[in-house]
Assembly symmetry: C2
Homo-oligomer: 450 residues x 2
C-alpha cells in the first residue's frame, strides 16, 4: 500500500507536459528509489529520463558512488551524466560550509546538464524527513516566516515528488523491490548541522510527537501558500511605492503608513531585499527600527543597518547601501560684475545697473550702496540666521529649510549669497529683507542664477 | 544597563490609561521581579497595584509559597488576594494535564479578582524564554501558523510586559536588588512537557544558536502581525460568504473559489472554528480534502472530518457537526377523492372532475381511465425512472434531480405520485407524459399540492 502511495506521489505532482526529466542521483537510497519509481512512471507516460551525479571528492569512496550510479543507469538503460568537482576547494574559496558548497556545486551542475539536454524538470529526492530538517535548520538559523516555507514540491525547474514521503516509506519501497544503494558516510559526520539534527535533536522531537514530520510538512504547506499570497501583493503594489531608484531606493512614506502593518513589514523586507540582494543579518529589531523611523516625530532621521542605510526625509523613506557622501562645504568670492560657477555647475552672474528689472526665484536685486562688504557665496553653517523678505525678525536658516522640507543633503548644497555675516539670498529660494533695491536708492546690484 | 532595560520594557507597552493593575505572583523569581519593577513604575505613574496568588495544592510546600507572597506584599504594602484550589482534582475532572488545569484555574481566579477590583490589566511574568518554550510546544503539538504566534504582550486584559526580557536579565535584576523568591519545585518535574523542553531540548538548541530565544521572539512578532492581518480580512469578508447558518453553515462555493488559496484556507479554518468552537485535531490534510471537495468534479460529495461533516451541494459548501439525518422513506396511499398529509406537513388533495381546470407547478391532471392502479405517494427509490412531460424516452429520476440541482437530502423528501410502477408526478416539480388528461379522454383526476 505504501509503495503505491510512493508511485502515486510521483504521478500526482507531475509537471505539465514534461518530456525530459533530469534526475539528481547520489546513489543513496532516496535517489535510487526516486529513480526506480520514475522509471516505472516515465515508461507509462512516455517521458525520457536522464541522470546526473556529482562526485564531491570529499570522501575517499565518493568515486565508488559515481561508479555505482553509472552501473545502475547502465542496467536500467538511462543516460547518465557524471562529473566530479572539488567541493572542499569551493568551500574554502567561497567561505562556505562544505554542505553549502556541495549544494551550490550540485545546483550548478544539474542546471548545466538540464540546459544541455533541454530537460523540463530537475528531479530531486528530498522527502518528508528532509523537509523537517530543513524547517528546523531555518528555524535555528533565525530565519523569518519566509524561510520556514522550507522546500516546495515545485519551484521553477526543480521538482521534489517525494517531499510528502517519509524515509520509512522510501526504505520500505527499496526493500520491496530489492533495490541496492550506497550509504553516504557523510550522513554520520556530526560536524554537519543537518546530521546533528538527524541524530540528536529530531529523535527527541519524535519522542514528544512521533508525527512531527507530517505536522511540520502541513505547516510548511500553509506557509508556502501564504508566502505566495504576500508575494502577489508585493508584485502588485511595490512599484507604486517607489518614487525613484536611481540613488538607492526612495519610497512614499504616506503609502507605507496607510498599509496594514503586516503588509508594510513585507514591503520593507522587499525593499531591503531589492537593495541588498538578500535579507541576511536583517532581524526583527531592524524592521522595528525602520517602523519607528517611519512613524516617529522626527521628519528627518537615519539608521545604519547591516548592509544598508535607511533614512526618513520628510515624506520619503530613503534606502541606500551606505549613507550618502555629504557635499563639501564651499565659500567662494562673487566677482562684481562677473560670473561664478557654483559647485553644482550652475552659474551665478552679477551685474551693476541703473534700473531695477524685477526679481524672481532666480533673480535678486540689491541696493549697492547698502552692501558694505564684498559678496561671497557659501554653503550653510550651523547657527546661520536670516530675515526672509516680507517677514520681521531673523529666523534660523535650519528652521527655514525645515519649513521648506529641504532634505539634509540638499541643505549643504544650497548656495547662500552673503555680505559679511549677512545672508542676502538663499539662492534660488528666498531673498532677505536686507538691502532691498528701490527708487532713489542708487545703483542696483543684480544677481541672476542661470 | 540591563535592569534599566527591564524597567523600560515595563513602561514601554504600558496599557493606555491603566489605573489599577492586578499582578499574578507565584513567588518565583519572574513574578517577584515583575512586581518589583511595577512597584517602582506604578509609584511614578500613580497606578495602584494588587497581587493575586493561587495555591495549586499540588505540592506540599505550595502553602509556603502563598505565605511568602503574602509576606512580600505586606512588606511592599500591596494588597494581596490569595486563594487555594485543588488543581489535581480539576485535572482529573476535566481530563486535563496538570499544567493545563493549573493554567485554567489561574486564569479564572485572576479574572474574577480583576473584575472585583475593576483592574484595567492582569499582568503576568512571562518572559522571552517562556515564549520560546510556548513556541516550541505549539510546534511540537502540530499547531498551524496561528498557534506559532505564541503569546502576545497585550491580549485583551492580559499584559505581559517582560515578554522581551530573558531569564538571565530577570535573574540579574533580582540579584542587583537583592530580591528573595521561592523556587518552584515543579519546574524540575520531567513529566511536564515544558520542563522536558527546558532541561533537554532547549539546551541543545542553544548550543546550535545561543540567540535562538531572540530569533524566535522576532518570528512570533511577525506571525502575530500577520495573524492580525488575516483576522481583519476574515472579519471583513467572512459574512459575505455565508448563505445561511441555521442548519450548520452554508457557504458560497463560487466566492471561495475566486479567493487566493491562502485566504480560502483561512476562511475554511474560520468556518470550522465557528462550527466546532476550535480547530483541535484539524490538520493540513483535512483542509486539503475540503479544497478537493470544492474544486473536484463531483457536484455533490461529503467528508467526515474530526468533529464535523463537510459537504459540497452544487454551489454550496455545507458544514455541520454531524451528517444530517436522512429523511425516512415513505409510501402512502392517496384517497380518491380525498386528502393526504405528506411527511413534510403539506397536503395533497385529489378530486374527480368532468372538466380540466389547467395544470401548474402545484397541480396535475390525469385521465382517470388511463390509471389502472390505485394511487400512492412515495419517496424516491434507487432505479426510479420517469418520462418528463414534453420529453420522449424515460430518464433516470436521479439524473432529473441532478439536472434540477436538487440536493441529496432534498431528493428523499420529494414526494412522487405513482400508479403501480409508473411515476405520474415529481410532486411540485414536473409531471410525466403518462395519462395526460384531454378532451374526450373521460373523467379527470385532479391532484393539488396545498
Amino acid at each position: 500500500m505504501k509503495s503505491i502511495h510512493l508511485a502515486q506521489s510521483i504521478i500526482d505532482p507531475f509537471p505539465a507536459d514534461a518530456q525530459q526529466l533530469l534526475v539528481g542521483v547520489s546513489g543513496g537510497v532516496d535517489s535510487v528509489v526516486l529513480l526506480h519509481t520514475l522509471k516505472d512512471v516515465s515508461e507509462r507516460l512516455n517521458v525520457s529520463l536522464h541522470v546526473a551525479h556529482l562526485d564531491h571528492q570529499i570522501r575517499s569512496e565518493s568515486s565508488n558512488d559515481a561508479a555505482f550510479v553509472r552501473d545502475l543507469c547502465g542496467q536500467w538503460d538511462i543516460p547518465c551524466y557524471a562529473e566530479s568537482y572539488d567541493v572542499a576547494e569551493l568551500a574554502e574559496r567561497g567561505k562556505l560550509s562544505i554542505e553549502m558548497a556541495g549544494r551550490q556545486a550540485r545546483r550548478e551542475f544539474f542546471q548545466r546538464i538540464a540546459e544541455m539536454i533541454e530537460a523540463d524538470a530537475i528531479v530531486l529526492a528530498h522527502h518528508l524527513d528532509d523537509q523537517l530538517e530543513t524547517f528546523l535548520i531555518r528555524l535555528l538559523r533565525g530565519s523569518g516566516q519566509s524561510g520556514l516555507a522550507a522546500m516546495r514540491i515545485h519551484t521553477g525547474i526543480w521538482w521534489r515528488p517525494l517531499l510528502g514521503c517519509s524515509r520509512g516509506q522510501i526504505l520500505e519501497y527499496a526493500q520491496k523491490y530489492e533495490l541496492r544503494w550506497v550509504e553516504d558516510q557523510s550522513n554520520n559526520n556530526p560536524v554537519f548541522l543537518r546530521n546533528q539534527l538527524r541524530h540528536q535533536l529530531i529523535p527527541q522531537l519524535l519522542e514528544i510527537n512521533s508525527n512531527i514530520a507530517q505536522k511540520v510538512a502541513g505547516l510548511t504547506q500553509q506557509i508556502q501558500v501564504e508566502e505566495d499570497y504576500w508575494q502577489e501583493l508585493i508584485t502588485q503594489q511595490f512599484n507604486d511605492l517607489v518614487i525613484s531608484c536611481n540613488d538607492g531606493l526612495r519610497l512614499r512614506r504616506g503609502d507605507l503608513l496607510v498599509m496594514h502593518p503586516a503588509l508594510r513589514m513585507r514591503m520593507l523586507r522587499e525593499a531591503l531585499r531589492r537593495l541588498r540582494g538578500d535579507l541576511q543579518r536583517i532581524e526583527a529589531v531592524h524592521l522595528h527600527s525602520i517602523e519607528m523611523l517611519l512613524t516617529g516625530q522626527r521628519s528627518q532621521a537615519q539608521l545604519d543597518l547591516p548592509g544598508c542605510w535607511v533614512a526618513r526625509r520628510y515624506e520619503t523613506l530613503w534606502l541606500r547601501d551606505v549613507a550618502p557622501k555629504l557635499p563639501e562645504r564651499f565659500d567662494l568670492s562673487l566677482p562684481l560684475p562677473g560670473e561664478l560657477e557654483l559647485p553644482d555647475g550652475r552659474i551665478l552672474r552679477s551685474s551693476i545697473q541703473d534700473e531695477q528689472e524685477g526679481e524672481s526665484t532666480n533673480v535678486a536685486e540689491y541696493s549697492l550702496a547698502l552692501l558694505p562688504h564684498s559678496l561671497r557665496v557659501r554653503s550653510w553653517q550651523a547657527g546661520d540666521r536670516f530675515e526672509p523678505l516680507g517677514m520681521t525678525g531673523r529666523k534660523r536658516l535650519k528652521n527655514y529649510f525645515s519649513d521648506c522640507q529641504i532634505e539634509l543633503e540638499a541643505r549643504l548644497k544650497t548656495p547662500l549669497l552673503v555680505s559679511g555675516e549677512t545672508i542676502l539670498w538663499v539662492i534660488g529660494m528666498r531673498r532677505s529683507n536686507y538691502a532691498v533695491a528701490g527708487k532713489d536708492k542708487g545703483m542696483i546690484l543684480r544677481v541672476e542664477l542661470i
